[in-house]
């Protein structure tokens, strides 16, 4: 088991290294020169541009730039944003809490909805309960999160005259205000998230209920609810965990439009700004950050697999 954990952890290293290489070099293939963009509109001489490039280290050969960046990154120094001039980690840090919180809240929402709904839907397959739940989840897949977000805002506005606050209130400062602010975007993205997971849960349970060991459990005279909770659920959970994990990692960096709708300054928004400004250092750090989240989530999924499935634990 310990070997399994160590093995999975060590496998994260080459993955992240690969991401770093790909991201760094592909950025440089992108059209557009960040220095030019920065000076956009201003009539500056080539001399000034060159000086600026030299200051940012962009005049050196690419591989040297890469190793310098990588070396610094390994010590935790991701440099300064080309655009704002502030440390990259500072820019990310002030937005991290918000993005993480929305993702976590959406996940909690999705899991608490998906597990019971998916299970119910499977147990009562082809009855009205199943139909209602399936309509709910198909709608969740069909409705774009930002549209749902706009509807939520409109509804809140007309009914309670609530408008999204202009600034973010951290949880520690004022939990109530914080939750009131973030519950709506979490709801908007969590709906789709729960819909995906509900469908996965339903099909997974249905599949497991066909297994021979479920018949064995029934033949033993096990209570039907124990057949579900003890014998079926644990086996059915594995594919659902995968879906939940990957969705979580996606939510963390991919809420571009929803953040816009709710006027949130999160990682998604930062990402869009960095890309549109050719902010190399910022993009590199963000891509790496999102990859770290993906890799960590996958690690957690692997660990959960081992917890739920002894065939993995005892190898």
């Amino acid at each position: 088991m310990l070997r399994y954990i160590i093995q999975r952890m060590l496998l994260m290293i080459p993955t992240l290294l690969g991401v770093a290489v790909l991201c760094f070099f592909m950025l440089r293939l992108m059209p557009g020169d960040p220095v030019q963009m920065m000076m956009d509109g201003a009539n500056v001489s080539k001399h000034v541009l060159d000086a600026e490039r030299a200051r940012l280290g962009l005049d050196q050969p690419i591989y040297i730039q890469f190793f310098k960046w990588l070396g610094a990154a390994l010590t935790g120094d991701f440099g300064y944003s080309i655009w704002t001039g502030k440390p990259v980690l500072y820019e990310i840090g002030i937005r991290l809490e918000l993005s993480l919180q929305v993702a976590v809240m959406a996940t909690i929402l999705a899991v608490t909805l998906a597990l019971p709904l998916g299970t119910l839907s499977a147990i009562y397959k082809d009855t009205w309960i199943d139909h209602v739940i399936r309509v709910f989840s198909v709608a969740g897949l069909a409705v774009p999160s930002f549209w749902l977000g706009m509807i939520i805002i409109l509804g809140l506005l007309t009914m309670f005259s609530w408008i999204p606050p202009l600034t973010f209130t951290p949880f520690m400062q004022d939990p109530k205000a914080n939750l009131l602010q973030l519950i709506w975007p979490a709801l908007a993205v969590g709906y789709r998230y729960s819909a995906v997971s509900t469908r996965m849960m339903r099909s997974s349970i249905l599949e497991v209920l066909q297994e021979d060991y479920i018949r064995t459990a029934r033949a033993k005279g096990v209570y039907e609810r124990l057949v579900i909770s003890r014998h079926a659920l644990r086996n059915a959970l594995l594919p659902v965990i995968t879906v939940i994990g990957i969705e979580f990692a996606f939510l963390f960096g991919g809420l571009v439009v929803t953040e816009q709708v709710f006027n949130l300054n999160g990682i998604g928004k930062l990402f869009v700004m960095a890309v549109s400004r050719g902010d190399y250092t910022m993009i590199q750090a963000l891509v790496l950050l999102v990859s770290v989240v993906f890799v960590l989530v996958n690690f957690v999924i692997d660990m959960l697999y081992a917890v739920f499935d002894p065939r993995i634990r005892y190898r």
Binding site: Q7, T216, G221, Y223, R230, H231, Y314, R315
Partner: protein
């Protein structure tokens, strides 16, 4: 024995039998499955009884309704498709069909327990074996966890699992197939049930393990007074273990009686046919296996009258008019056949059900000279990932085939037998060059093809074809039968164009006993036997000289199995084919083979001519194998002293040192643990690898 009236088949004259002390009475049971294509009448009016402590068998081929009827007793039919639409199931006089769902639940696992066919999938992979045994005791007997655990430990000992204390906390994947089936039996016995239903309990197991498990179940049922209902297609199993037998055909009961009565004097043409289609180890090899022509009717649209009429050689006009009821023809022997009374008088032969004097096989004259295929010291080893050591995976070498030498002459059939994991399939795959041999030589028709590649390999592969075991998964479901058979011919340009190939396909289909219009069909539209014929046609399309048959009949029902074996023999005569026949069924191998190789854990144990091997087996493993096969004759079985081989086949990952068989060998001495015995010629043409002979 108390006098008992018998329900007359589907006619349903209800009798009062509960007074007779039956433990279980199934009366006129009807089960339907509602499918998108219509209602499948899976069970139609079957009635049988089980007395406390006796062993009752339910025999029949796949789809005859034997499993469905037992699932109906447990009320475990797949919902919502499966419905019990009529009849009564009395257990200790109580009608189970009138119980509420929760009352029924208290009976399942408490009074009636069930064991299923697939030990590999019937245990929950995420719960410990111990817990799965404890669970029914905790639920039904309100036992504490400690008490249940103590009892589970006892049960594991009872079913013969060594080191039970440690085994309790293990998970099913850490158990072998035979051990899992033992664990299933332990679960079944947990609450001291009065009735144990075993649905094909040993079909998925090797023959030596099968003998162990069946012996165990019979002993336990005797010792604990548990009635046993065994559902099986294997007549040998029935003969060895059952007191009374119910033969089912196409959703109905065909015959019912004591085991002796049914095997000695079958009173239904189907039973008679079934008994004759099985190749038997205790009888001289006949010229051909007798078969039952055709196949069972679809239960979606079953014919009027006797279901068996279409396949019955003794059919008369009355057969197709109405379904014959099950009547007591002779004392304690019931049959559902209009001619059963006549059959009781004159025997099956009198009705034209069997040829009066079976012909002995024609001696096969093999061409002298160079063998067609020579295999010398063939070794195929696999690297298996044994685990990961940090980022580097460690490997273990599995010696799937370890030093095999034999020749096949043109026109000969060589049988290759052994239990699972013995390497027999790897031999086939290596000869087909689907695996690369680690060392050794394969000489085909004078040419060394061990490392052949390119054109030479292509030529070789055309000459050596294969028929696979599973007719369900070895045909591409998206291609028509015609496309499947034509494909290799077109790839190898054996036919100039598609049109010529199509003509050839039709000719081949007729040759293997199918109809040419089936070329347009898709595999799922054919039955198992028909699909296996397609597999044969595909092999024949290449005009091969050798066909490697890898368990070609093991997935088929007895009556169909006989048809395929006869077909293979006919084709051999017609085209002068040479076969390597890989199988685990010793009786089938004996019927078809000229010479036989017995393998165990990658090593050859014995090679001999058929008759020598079966009449005078030399190697203790061959003897044990032959001993383990139950013979479909209760009288013989009762007289036979069977020595059940103990223990399990060791893991090929870690085979025993010295002679690989020494861990289970009754003759093994200290010398067997040291040296690997050479295969030596003990008698002319009879080789064995054992130091004790």
């Amino acid at each position: 024995m108390s006098a008992v009236l018998q329900t007359a088949g589907g006619a349903g004259t209800v009798q009062s039998a509960s007074a007779a002390g039956w433990l279980l009475e199934v009366e006129d049971l009807h089960v339907h499955f509602v499918t998108s294509r219509g209602v499948v009448r899976a069970v139609e009016g079957i009635s049988y009884q089980v007395r406390a402590g006796e062993v009752v068998a339910l025999v029949g081929e796949s789809g005859c309704g034997k499993s469905v009827s037992s699932l109906a007793i447990m009320q475990l039919l797949a919902k919502p498709a499966g419905r019990i639409v009529g009849g009564r199931i009395l257990f200790q006089g109580r009608d189970l069909l009138k119980l509420s769902a929760d009352e029924m639940r208290t009976i399942r696992g408490r009074d009636i327990a069930m064991i299923f066919q697939e030990p590999m999938t019937s245990l929950n992979p995420v719960l410990t074996v111990g817990f799965q045994i404890m669970e029914p005791m905790i639920i039904h007997l309100a036992m504490s966890k400690t008490a249940a655990r103590a009892r589970a430990l006892e049960l594991l000992q009872l079913v013969g699992i060594p080191d039970p204390e440690r085994r309790l906390d293990q998970y099913p994947h850490q158990f072998s197939g035979g051990m899992r089936q033992r664990a299933m039996i332990a679960i079944g016995l947990a609450c001291d049930p009065k009735l144990l239903i075993a649905d094909e309990p040993t079909t998925a197991l090797d023959v030596t393990i099968q003998a162990q498990i069946l012996q165990l179940m019979k002993d336990l049922s005797r010792k604990l007074g548990i009635a046993l209902v065994i559902i099986t297609h294997n007549l040998g199993v029935v003969a060895r273990y059952a007191d009374r037998v119910n033969v089912m055909y196409s959703a109905r009961l065909a015959e019912q009686g004591t085991a002796e009565g049914i095997f000695e004097k079958p009173l239904h043409p189907y039973t008679a046919g079934l008994l004759r289609s099985v190749p038997r180890l205790d009888q001289p090899r006949g010229k051909r296996l007798e078969t039952i022509d055709g196949m069972p009717p679809s239960l979606l649209d079953a014919p009027e009258g006797c279901r068996f009429a279409a396949r019955c050689p003794a059919r008369i006009d009355a057969c197709v008019v109405a379904a014959p009821p099950l009547v007591e023809v002779t004392p304690q022997h019931w049959s559902a056949c209009v001619r059963s009374v006549q059959m009781a008088k004159v025997g099956p032969a009198g009705l034209g059900l069997q040829s009066a004097n079976p012909q002995p096989p024609e001696p096969k004259i093999l061409a002298a000279g160079e063998p067609l295929l020579r295999v010398h010291d063939l070794r195929t080893y696999f690297e298996v990932a044994a685990g990961m050591k940090l980022l580097k995976s460690t490997h273990v070498e599995v010696r799937a085939v370890d030093g095999l030498s034999f020749n096949i002459r043109r026109g000969e059939t060589v049988g290759l037998v052994g239990e699972s994991g013995c390497g027999k399939t790897t031999v086939g795959r290596t000869l087909l060059r689907l695996e690369n041999p680690t060392s050794g030589e394969i000489i085909f028709d004078g040419a060394n093809v061990t490392r052949a590649s390119g054109d030479q390999l292509k030529r070789y592969r055309r000459q050596v074809q294969v028929i696979f075991q599973d007719p369900y998964s070895s045909l591409n479901p998206r291609m028509t039968i015609g496309q499947i058979i034509a494909e290799p011919m077109l790839v190898y340009k054996l036919q100039p164009n598609r049109k010529a190939a199509d003509r050839k396909v039709r000719a081949l289909l007729t040759q293997v006993g199918l109809f040419d219009y089936m070329a347009e069909r898709y595999p799922h539209e054919l039955s198992g036997g028909q699909r296996q014929r397609v597999g044969i046609a595909r092999a024949l399309a290449m005009q091969p000289s050798v066909i490697i048959c890898d368990e070609p009949v093991s997935a088929l029902d007895v009556s169909i199995q006989a048809q395929i074996i006869n077909l293979l023999e006919d084709l051999q005569r017609e085209f002068g084919l040479t076969y390597l026949f890989i199988a685990h069924d010793l009786a089938v191998v004996r019927h078809i083979s000229d010479r036989i190789i017995v393998m165990y854990l990658g090593k050859v144990m014995e090679i001999a001519d058929r008759d020598a091997l079966y009449s005078e087996p030399l190697h203790p493993y061959t003897k044990a194998l032959l001993d383990a096969v139950p013979i479909p004759d209760p009288a013989l079985e009762a007289a036979r002293v069977t020595k059940v081989l103990s223990g399990e086949v060791p893991s090929p990952l870690n085979p025993p040192r010295g002679c690989v068989f020494h861990t289970r060998c009754p003759l093994a001495g200290p010398e067997c643990k040291i040296a690997v015995p050479e295969l030596r010629e003990v008698r002319p043409g009879h080789y064995a690898a054992c130091v004790k002979i």
